[in-house]
């Protein structure tokens, strides 16, 4: 993607960057600049990530021994609910879209901002409001339903602050919807001249697919949470068996959102991987068109498979078989992407910078997570593994091994653009390795635990499971160090790192053609695109 006529001749005095366009708190809290809003999200979700990670640490600590010795059962139940709710709705779902998407998407499109900047800022405030409600629910006494809020436990029996927590998630859902809406319209309307659909970077494709899911799935979650709230309020409701209601209906509606939500969590990570693999092997992504369309295929097929969470729920046997078949089909486009990334490395010129290390980690861990997903789509295997630690390990491989790796990789890749400075490369490489090792040590033993039948959401377990649990807890402490390191060195580099040019990786893409950090309105003159994406010079 090389622009003809790059930018108008520069004015002698350098334009102020978005970072020093204003220094007051007000200039940040009332900003309409997509880049500043991206940073606001970065702080917010890091905050929620830390809280949820502390909860996970407490859980792993309790699980060091089979006996219930560290915390009470109720406390443990509140911890895993907190961990799930905060990680899913206040970290994973917003992570790449709201931070990197907000920051990079308009730059990649050659646009000066997203289509609706006010709505963008409003989304952040709504998100914070939802987060504060969730925090209030936690501080006031906690919620013990698990992030899945299954009825009738959540609607009738739980004595936690379910309504406040559900309200927090409900409110945060609107933030998701508005972000998705904004991205969709931005991608449709604000592409630079010449930037046709098949000249878009794959990160944009993945964000487009993600936005479709955000917009089409989140409302169903909202109405489902509303119904739970009403049921708690009135004492009766549509999921109430005493009225002839069916608790499984809740599960249908919940997973209609929450299964596609898994793809909200993984698709943007796939987009980041496509960008970094292409950049650090200096090659166009192999099968660009197929990878682009695969994102849309995942988004669409992802809506048809939610029933695989309900194979043992007593849903109809026939429905189970249909959902199993569809679940196998949705794995195809994900597998295709992995093959294409591998083929991209072929005959490339590969340099092992930190973003690539994270991308390689993503490919490995996502492959394991995806294949164990195929295990769980297989009906009798799911009957065996459902609600055991196998499932825990599987979705952590996808969400932490996949999405968090992608997120960290993306943060490192675009950090020079965001901060205008470079982090210490070797520290970053080492901490990427620590994350990889710690992650595998934490979650691989959980596959075996699940195979042996250890149920999820328990604070005590049979003595024969202890060895594997100790391994897992040990891994968690390594993983914790791997997460603290980037927090430290990235923060340090933000203020003290060496300054970089506009394109330190020598990458294609419009975001690299403006300054680092970019000026307030991104481009002095809107660039014109005349070439294919990832248009790296031939290597022969």
């Amino acid at each position: 993607m090389i622009t003809e006529e790059i930018i108008a001749p520069r004015v002698p005095a350098p334009a102020p960057t978005y970072l020093n366009a204003g220094h007051t708190l007000r200039s940040w809290l009332c900003t309409l600049d997509h880049k500043r809003i991206g940073l606001l999200y970065l702080f917010t979700i890091t905050f929620f990530f830390v809280i949820a990670a502390v909860a996970a640490a407490l859980m792993r600590w309790e699980l060091l021994t089979p006996q219930p010795d560290l915390v009470t059962p109720d406390f443990y139940n509140r911890m895993f609910t907190l961990h799930g709710v905060l990680m899913v709705w206040f970290f994973l779902i917003p992570s790449i879209p709201t931070v990197l998407g907000n920051f990079i998407l308009p730059l990649m499109l050659g646009a000066r901002d997203v289509a609706f900047p006010r709505l963008n800022l409003a989304s952040w405030y709504i998100f914070v409001a939802g987060g504060l409600m969730a925090l209030y629910a936690i501080v006031a006494g906690g919620v013990d339903t698990g992030w899945t809020f299954y009825t009738p436990y959540s609607s009738t029996y739980s004595n936690g602050y379910v309504m406040m927590m559900a309200a927090g998630v409900f409110v945060a859902g609107f933030s998701s919807i508005f972000t998705g809406l904004n991205f969709i319209v931005t991608i449709h309307q604000l592409r630079a001249p010449g930037l046709t659909w098949f000249r878009l970077p794959l990160f944009v494709w993945s964000l487009y697919a993600t936005s479709l899911i955000l917009v089409l799935a989140t409302p169903v979650l909202a109405i489902t949470l509303l119904l739970i709230g009403l049921e708690r309020l009135c004492g009766v409701g549509v999921f109430d068996p005493k009225l002839g209601g069916d608790p499984l209906l809740f599960q249908h509606l919940f997973w209609f959102y929450s299964h596609p939500a898994v793809y909200i969590m993984i698709l943007p990570g796939m987009g980041v991987v496509s960008e970094t693999i292409a950049c650090f092997s200096r090659k166009r992504v192999f099968g660009y068109h197929v990878v682009a369309i695969a994102s849309l295929a995942i988004a669409a097929l992802g809506f048809l498979v939610w029933g695989h969470h309900m194979f043992v729920s007593s849903q109809s046997v026939y429905a189970g078989v249909v959902f199993s078949l569809l679940s196998f089909l949705v794995s195809v486009p994900s597998a295709i992407k992995v093959f294409n990334w591998t083929a991209t490395l072929h005959r490339g010129s590969i340099s092992f910078d930190t973003p690539l290390l994270y991308a390689l980690g993503f490919i490995g861990l996502f492959t394991i997570g995806g294949l164990t997903g195929v295990f769980l789509a297989t009906l009798p295997v799911d009957v065996r593994m459902h609600d055991t630690y196998f499932v825990i390990a599987h979705f952590h491989y996808v969400m932490v091994g996949g999405m968090v790796m992608g997120y960290l990789g993306g943060i490192h890749y675009w950090w020079p653009k965001i901060s205008g400075r470079l982090y210490h490369e070797w520290t970053a490489r080492v901490s990427a390795l620590i994350v990889f090792i710690g992650f595998n040590l934490t979650f691989f033993p959980q596959f075996i635990l699940g195979y042996l039948g250890m149920p999820r959401r328990v604070h005590m377990y049979a003595p024969e499971f202890q060895t594997l649990n100790v391994l897992s807890s040990a891994g968690a402490s390594i993983l914790g160090i791997g997460y603290i390191l980037p927090l430290v060195y990235l923060t340090w580099s933000f203020f003290h790192g060496p300054k970089v040019s506009s394109n330190p990786w020598d990458a294609t893409g419009l975001e690299w053609q403006t300054d680092s950090p970019p000026p307030e309105h991104n481009f002095a003159q809107i660039p014109v695109v005349t070439a294919e994406p990832y248009n790296y010079p031939p290597l022969a």
Binding site: P106, A111, R112, D113, V114, A115, F116, P117, R118, L119, I177, L181, N182, I184, V185, H188, Q189, L190, V215, L216, A217, T218, P219, V220, A222, I223, T224, L226, L227, L230, C234, G235, V236, G237, V238, D240, K242, L243, G244, G245, D246, L249, H252, L253, H521, I526
Partner: protein
């Protein structure tokens, strides 16, 4: 979305902004379809499971209020469409009367709706501990009435949002902020208003007209 008549820097043409606005609002309406849609799915599942209870439950609703309210809403939609026409022809007075008529009809709808809720209260048909009913299918009828309250209640909340938006439009018109060059606020509120109307068009037969 943008109130300032001048074009923000990230749009290059008025046309581009107009398409963006329409696309954005229609995307929002798609989310609204799925938001109400969750309730329609619940409704369908239970209607298939308990057809007799739904017939009996429907008989507890006030057919005449439901029918009149449908007419009221359709009429308000006509005035909203006329308002859209007026703003594009720069008829500020006509715009004011059309918006006012739309607002008043919306208020009439809500008035009738709340009168109907009052009736249910006096008949002890509010789901919960005070629900009283004799005869067969009592729990399932309670389920139906619960769905009725949730669906119409959510619709009423959307109506209240629409009335607020209309009041804001009237204020904007009073300040001379609406013009043929800047019709977007009227168009956007109009789309929303018509959509909320469409939701009622489905609620009416599904709740009030189950074989009387």
């Amino acid at each position: 979305m943008s109130r300032a008549p001048s074009l923000p820097s990230h749009f290059s043409t008025v046309e581009q902004r107009s398409v963006a606005n329409h696309l954005g609002l229609w995307t929002f309406l798609a989310t609204e379809i799925l938001f109400f849609g969750g309730l329609f799915v619940c409704y369908t599942v239970y209607r298939i499971a308990y057809p007799a209870a739904f017939v009996a439950g429907s008989h507890h609703l006030n057919f005449w209020i439901g029918t009149i309210n449908t007419g009221v809403l359709l009429t308000s939609s006509l005035f909203m469409a006329l308002a859209d026409r007026a703003v594009k022809r720069d008829r500020r007075t006509a715009l004011r009367w059309c918006l006012l008529a739309t607002w008043l009809l919306g208020a009439v709808f809500l008035g009738l709706k709340f009168y109907e809720y009052g009736e249910k209260y006096h008949e002890h048909l509010i789901p919960g501990p005070n629900f009283q009913l004799n005869g067969p299918w009592k729990p399932q009828i309670e389920l139906f009435i619960f769905l009725y309250f949730t669906m119409t209640g959510l619709h009423a909340v959307h109506m209240i949002g629409g009335l607020t938006a209309l009041a804001w439009l009237l204020w904007q018109n009073h300040r001379g902020r609406l013009s043929p060059e800047h019709p977007a606020p009227v168009e956007m509120v109009g789309l929303y208003w018509h959509f909320v109307d469409c939701v009622w068009v489905f609620l009416y037969p599904l709740l009030y007209l189950i074989i009387r």
